[in-house]
Amino acid sequence: MRTPLLPTTAHRLAILAYVVFALFPLYWLFKVSLTPNDLLYSEGVRMWPSRTTWEHYSFVLQHSAFPTFFKNSLIVSGSTAIIVTICASLSGYALSRFSFRAKYWIVGLMLLTQMFPLVMLVAPIFKILTPLGLTNSLTGLIVVYTAFNVPFATFLMQSFFDGIPKDLEEAAMIDGATKFTAFREIILPLTLPGIAATLGFVFTAAWSELLFALMLINGNNAATFPVGLLTFVSKFSVDFGQMMAAGVLALVPAALFFLLIQRYLVQGLTAGAVKG
């Protein structure tokens, strides 16, 4: 049977249009970050500059506070991802394997936290954290981000635990292991892909968070990447090359994690969409 040519061509063209639309803004970001300053305005709308340079990157890495922002963001997102994954594997396991009286209340509470506008909490959290010395500190951000991400991560981990047969830990318990040993030695290793996906999701979420970071942090020492980049934009809004070089640098960890968790996206987003 001959495949009809016209629909196939239309299909490929439509796919191409989507790929161009998805990648063009990122391409442009990269292009401007490589354009030397003297060509920035004369060759503004050219698809590729006649000369390229890495000077914006070397300036950003050597003479600006961006390496500090980068380090802060890495500390905050990394710690958040690790703590959330530990808490969420415990609570996800409880929701997957036990039936207990408060279960529906816990699920309800977690759903509630996914529904109300987080921006509501900006003012009270600022007021509560100030006397504790947790504003302008990375620890404060980690605590806040951890709590925000635990509900979704719990549902995600639960869906991974649900996929593992119960017989496995029952067999281990007949052999004399306690439930916790069975959880640690048998179930957790089987959920490693789920753990990787949760780590990736939470890392990306914490890496992108803007509003609470803006509210809770002022000054460069504890600024995360979003705060640093926005401050930079409002102060030196003419250094487009440097801003975009910084933007490309901010994109790198997120894109790496995306490639890492790409395979689990469907499962994760489906769990997220259905459950909150």
Binding site: A22, L26, L95, A123, P124, A273
Partner: protein, 311 residues
């Protein structure tokens, strides 16, 4: 059956009480860290925030803090900026959700068909989802900037603009900037969820329909859509709530301007708390937003119940 088994179990239970207590508390021990965090960092501030709505709390004024009853709500009912923000929220949410869904569905249908290099294409078109939202906002703000971005020049060449200007500072069209950025950023979410639902539809249904001579559109209408309907309903409804609260792109791209034309309720709350430092008023607006969202959610639940009862 389970009832009698339960009673039987309890009578036969010869475990010492310490052991029974330990077993019963086990799920609570597992959930405790997550629960404590949620309660301390989310639930307590939520309650505190609701109490702020009835108090005079300004960060820079040490004499503020007193209980003022409904005064904030009286101010709010006369606040023109709030009504503008409410109208903008509807427009922002409606346009973003509709466009994200429409383009996401088309993309999912395109990707459902096997072709060479599908894995790579999928990774590329889903990439915007991984871009941090602040960066997506900045990136699009730069694309709309006539100094550095190509879009104003393209619009000028097409004759849609009298001179290459910045759409983000044009009161009439400014909202399109954040909406387009949001669509670019959100298409992958819909495409991924819908693609997962599409791939769970049994393939033999399509084959049977083709043998019976059904056209592509007939197959789409009577097989694909009914199968997708539950996923579509859930994702669209949840995304609506989520996008109406999503202020990042607006804060980054326009800061609510020009002249509040792009201010949505969520960004208005943030502006009141972050720039005006009026925590009391910000919390009052937040409370109104919460009530509106709760009403919306109740409506959805009722609608779902009636639909379920009918089916």
């Amino acid at each position: 059956m389970s009832m009698t088994a339960d009673v039987y179990d309890r009578r036969q239970d010869r475990r010492p009480w310490q052991k029974r207590l330990a077993d019963a508390s086990e799920p609570y021990l597992y959930s405790a860290p997550a629960l404590i965090l949620i309660i301390v960092v989310m639930l307590v501030p939520l309650v505190v925030g609701i109490s702020y709505a009835f108090r005079d709390i300004q960060l820079l004024n040490p004499f503020s803090g007193g209980f003022i009853g409904l005064e904030h709500f009286e101010t709010l009912s006369k606040d023109k900026a709030f009504y503008v923000a409410l109208k903008n929220t509807l427009w922002w949410t409606g346009a973003s959700v509709f466009l994200q869904f429409a383009f996401g569905l088309i993309l999912a249908l395109l990707l459902d068909k096997p072709f060479m290099g599908r894995g790579l294409v999928q990774a590329l078109v889903f990439l915007p989802w991984a871009v941090p939202s602040f960066l997506a906002g900045l990136n699009w703000a730069w694309l709309f900037n006539p100094v550095i971005g190509p879009i104003p020049h393209w619009l000028f060449d097409l004759g849609l603009m009298s001179q290459p200007g910045n759409i983000l500072s044009d009161p009439q069209y400014a909202m399109w900037g954040p909406i387009i950025a949001n669509v670019w950023w959100g298409i992958p979410f819909f495409a991924i969820t819908l693609l997962a639902a599409l791939q769970s539809i049994p393939r033999d249904l399509y084959e049977a329909a083709s043998i019976d001579g059904a056209s592509w559109f007939q197959r789409f209408w009577s097989i694909t859509l009914p199968f997708l309907a539950p996923t579509i309903a859930i994702t669209v409804l949840l995304r609506t709530v989520w996008i109406s609260n999503f202020a990042d792109l607006i804060v980054v791209m326009t800061g609510g301007g020009p002249a509040d034309r792009t201010q949505i309720v969520a960004s208005y709350i943030f502006t009141q708390a972050f720039k005006a430092l009026d925590f009391g008023y910000a919390s009052a607006i937040a409370l109104v937003l919460l009530v509106l969202l709760l009403a919306y959610s109740m409506l959805i639940i009722l609608l779902r119940q009636t639909l379920l009862n009918k089916g």
